[in-house]
């Protein structure tokens, strides 16, 4: 006989995708439920801030963007379509786009080139850990399993907020190579994270 389990509230450690309750919260938020938004905030703020901070590298700006992202989630909760992905991936897309918009509008190319070096090595550099230490360790292990070029292509784009042509310039390889490395890297990450 198969066991059954009451749905719990998995923290980020349970894997960002495996969070159906976040989707349920969004559907309540779409109906204007402020209690649901409180719970949503408590679970979403940390991941959003972490991702934004990895792109922007500036706490004050990142907090601002985090608030914008969470407000956008409140505002557009009714547009979240579970058929297209988990609530966490929707939220992370919102966050990433906001962060990248901000960095591209405000930072001059020269400054960005400078930051590249740190973005490259600092993917695990977080100031203050929350309960996701385990998840971070998994992600780190999976990143470590990539080739250097795959890892740098993925992390510069995602944590650094660079476009693939910028990544190509930073790494001194043809854009076509970066494209394929990003895809190959994500395939390996997907398999690696999925397998754990």
């Amino acid at each position: 006989m198969a066991g059954s389990e009451q749905a719990r509230w998995p923290g980020p450690a349970g894997g960002a995708g495996a969070d159906p309750e976040l989707a349920l919260l969004l559907s309540r938020i779409a109906r204007g439920d402020q209690r649901a938004y409180e719970q949503f905030y408590d679970r979403a703020a940390g991941p959003v801030l972490g991702l934004v901070l990895s792109v922007l590298r500036d706490l004050a700006q990142s907090e601002e963007v985090m608030q914008e992202v969470l407000l956008e989630a409140w505002r557009t909760a009714s547009r979240y379509d579970p058929a297209r992905g988990s609530a966490m991936s929707w939220l992370m897309m919102l966050a990433h786009r906001r962060a990248v918009d901000r960095v591209r509008s405000e930072q001059r190319a020269a400054e960005r080139e400078q930051r590249a070096t740190s973005a490259q090595v600092d993917y695990d550099d977080v100031t203050e850990a929350v309960e996701s230490a385990l998840d971070r360790e998994r992600v780190r292990r999976c990143l470590d399993a990539l080739t250097d070029l795959q890892r740098e292509s993925v992390t510069l784009a995602y944590y650094g907020g660079y476009s693939y042509s910028e990544v190509a310039r930073l790494l001194g390889v043809p854009p076509g190579t970066v494209k394929t490395r990003m895809r190959d890297g994500l395939i390996r990450l997907r398999d690696c994270l999925g397998a754990q």
């Binding site: 198969a2 066991g3 059954s4 389990e5 749905a7 980020p12 960002a16 995708g17 495996a18 989707a23 559907s27 779409a30 905030y41 703020a45 940390g46 991941p47 972490g50 991702l51 901070l53 990895s54 907090e63 608030q67 969470l70 407000l71 505002r75 557009t76 009714s78 547009r79 379509d81 579970p82 058929a83 297209r84 992905g85 988990s86 991936s89 929707w90 992370m92 897309m93 990433h96 786009r97 906001r98 977080v126 100031t127 203050e128 929350v130 998840d135 971070r136 990143l143 993925v154 784009a157 995602y158 944590y159 476009s163 693939y164 494209k179 394929t180 990003m182 895809r183 890297g185 994500l186």
Partner: protein, 260 residues
Amino acid sequence: MGGRRGRDRAEVHLLAGAYALNALSGPDQARFERHLAGCEQCRLEVRGFAETAARLGASQAVRPRPELRDQALRTAARTRQLPPGPGLRPGRARPGAAPARARRRRPGAGPWPRWAAAGVAAAVLAAATVAGVTALRYEHRISQDQASGHELAAVLSAPDVVMLTAKVTGGGKATVLMSHHMRALVFAVAGLPPLPAAKGYELWLIGPSGSRPQGMLPAGPARPVMVAGLAHGDQVGVTVEPRDGSAQPTTRPLLLMPLE
């Protein structure tokens, strides 16, 4: 098939990774979104990549200063929300309608690309192992024009709704969303192994007073099934039966989910 066309297609497909990482420039992004509209495999791949990227993102979580919380809640309380938008329902999605200019946000549209939602059902099922509720909600959206959709919607939005999941022996994952108050549940299962044509999966309520058949599960995509009239002590069961069903289970249940 012209070689150039084929090569372009293969090449644009390779953009899936950069796309999921939000690393495409405007023209490339528009090109890829047009491609997505007609490429189911790409949509699946992008979905998977987006979940992977979300893992990368969420793994960086840091604790925000507590005082930001109140501020966010207050701001939300006085911010008007958008009504559900057009284009969400599968029938209305417009393939190939990706705007050529916007590289980034379309205000109010959220982060989803505008590829056709038709055919996404398969992707939903793929995700159902992660979030059974996703499949349920999606199917619910499809069926809400139908009469049965109303009951289903009522369960899904009941204030006391709880979600239970269980593995099915031999493969598959079952998800139940149940309202005790309504004495009803919505059942969905994904990943059941295919059966010979003469057999099917039958759904049961199995309680202290015996087993009540709840119908055969539709083959193929996991359509959610509405089950009403729950009694105390009932469990949800699934057995393999002849295609037309049995009055009583004739094989050992592959699933037996207590509902407490």
